[in-house]
Symmetry: C2
Subunit: 263 residues, 2 copies
């Protein structure tokens, strides 16, 4: 579990959670232990999905974040159990009183985390991705698939940060608009990297989707079209936070990071 | 998920949850939707563990409950995702308001479920079981391993039922004593069945542990010794519920079922 979760990575989801909380919070969040714990729990869910996705029976990846994958270092049985345990740990953490004094907020965070990562979220997207190979050529369907597979947890990260910092309904709506655009831009960038990325920089194999003949945002819109689409979504994400001025600096920076990232 | 969860099985854990709730409840639980939902969520956790345990990289079982295992009917990737999704679904269900009107009780149920099924519970027991093969010959260690692997979730079932029915602290203590004895008796019976069970009745392979040279309660205490030990634990479990009289009928019946079960 430590090898998988503490082995680097962009930490994008916990970053989004923390910075969304910071943007809307009326006071400093630096000592708000619950926000940092929730961010760690969220990263555990993301990492569990990577460990299981890398399994030989799934994407069969040998490298992750530039290092051998969990099943390569240990074995497949341990990789299954590590993923199971990281997911379980996330819910145990989210249920703790330190997360937030309001029990109803903790329950909402738990229910929403399960929804974002379950059959109507991340797992649902993964199932479609694996079993619909070659049958998805429609741009709208690709968007829906990716909204489930990646978007749901990115959206959760941002809105959970807002909830933990007692955001207003208007704040939560703005964060939601931001997160939806950011999540889709993230996935388009993933497809761009799969096309023109450097495996050495990414720390994982490139051109896997193209090699498998999968439809991607790049295969549908072309490389330039995909880049323009991602840029437009980035602008939408930033526009949703315009009224927060300088306080939106970190979340705006996340947009630039997502659009420019090399891995 | 439906194939795995609705495909029969003893349903022992949900039975224990419901009957523990019924025993201590001051009114009928028949219309207490939350108790039945929690029982279903708990069964999802148990079934997820079976689906993952049956994987080729784990126990590599072809049969479960007399039917082909999930990875045989679908494939390994789907079996991993089915298990992941059942676990996730369990937490989503437990967080719902219908489970219990008191948010703190729902949070305790979620935190305890994660603890019982995580690294300090079911998964921890499974890791020890897989990776300590041949190195565990000590009766006390076998007991600890099984307390984690099977006992934790059985104990959870009984105590969750009590909590859902607003049991008193004394009730919860009695239920805890009952559940600890029952859980250990359950595992001893598993070892007895592995030795003398009929694969056709069990719907899964027999003599797997003996074949692997694993230490079991039978290899340590002998067949008669193991049976006597299980009987003694069954008596302890019933004694813990003596003061409930006829209301303990179902839970006492569960003890007999565990001691006499053929599968």
């Amino acid at each position: 579990m430590r090898y998988a979760a503490l082995g680097g990575g962009k930490r994008l989801r916990p970053f989004l959670l923390v910075e969304a909380a910071r943007m809307v919070s009326k006071s400093s969040i630096d000592d708000e232990e619950g926000i940092w714990m929730a961010a760690a729990a969220l990263e555990c869910v993301h990492v569990y999905s990577l460990v299981h996705d890398d399994l030989p029976c799934m994407d069969d990846d040998d490298l992750r974040r530039g290092k051998p994958t969990v099943h390569k270092v240990y074995d497949e049985a341990m990789a299954v159990l590590v993923g199971d345990a990281l997911l379980t740990q996330a819910f145990e953490t989210m249920a703790r009183p330190e997360i937030h004094p309001n029990a109803d907020i903790r329950l909402a965070l738990i229910g929403n985390l399960a929804a974002a990562s379950g059959t109507h979220g991340m797992i649902g997207g993964q199932v479609i991705d694996i079993y619909a190979d070659g049958n998805i050529s429609d741009a709208e369907l690709i968007g829906q698939l990716q909204a489930l597979k990646t978007g749901a947890l990115i959206h959760y990260a941002v809105s959970a940060g807002g909830k933990l910092a007692d955001a207003t309904a208007a704040d939560l709506q703005n964060l939601s608009t931001y997160a939806s655009a950011l999540g889709l831009a993230f996935q388009i960038r993933d497809d761009i990297l799969d096309t023109e990325g450097d495996a050495k920089i990414m720390g994982k194999a490139a051109q896997k989707d193209a090699g498998l003949g999968k439809a991607t945002f790049v295969s549908i819109h072309g490389l330039d079209g995909a880049k323009a689409y991602a840029k437009k979504l980035g602008d939408e994400a930033k526009a949703a936070l315009a009224l927060y001025g300088d306080k939106a600096g970190a979340l705006n920076g996340a947009v630039d990071f997502v659009l420019e990232r090399k891995k």
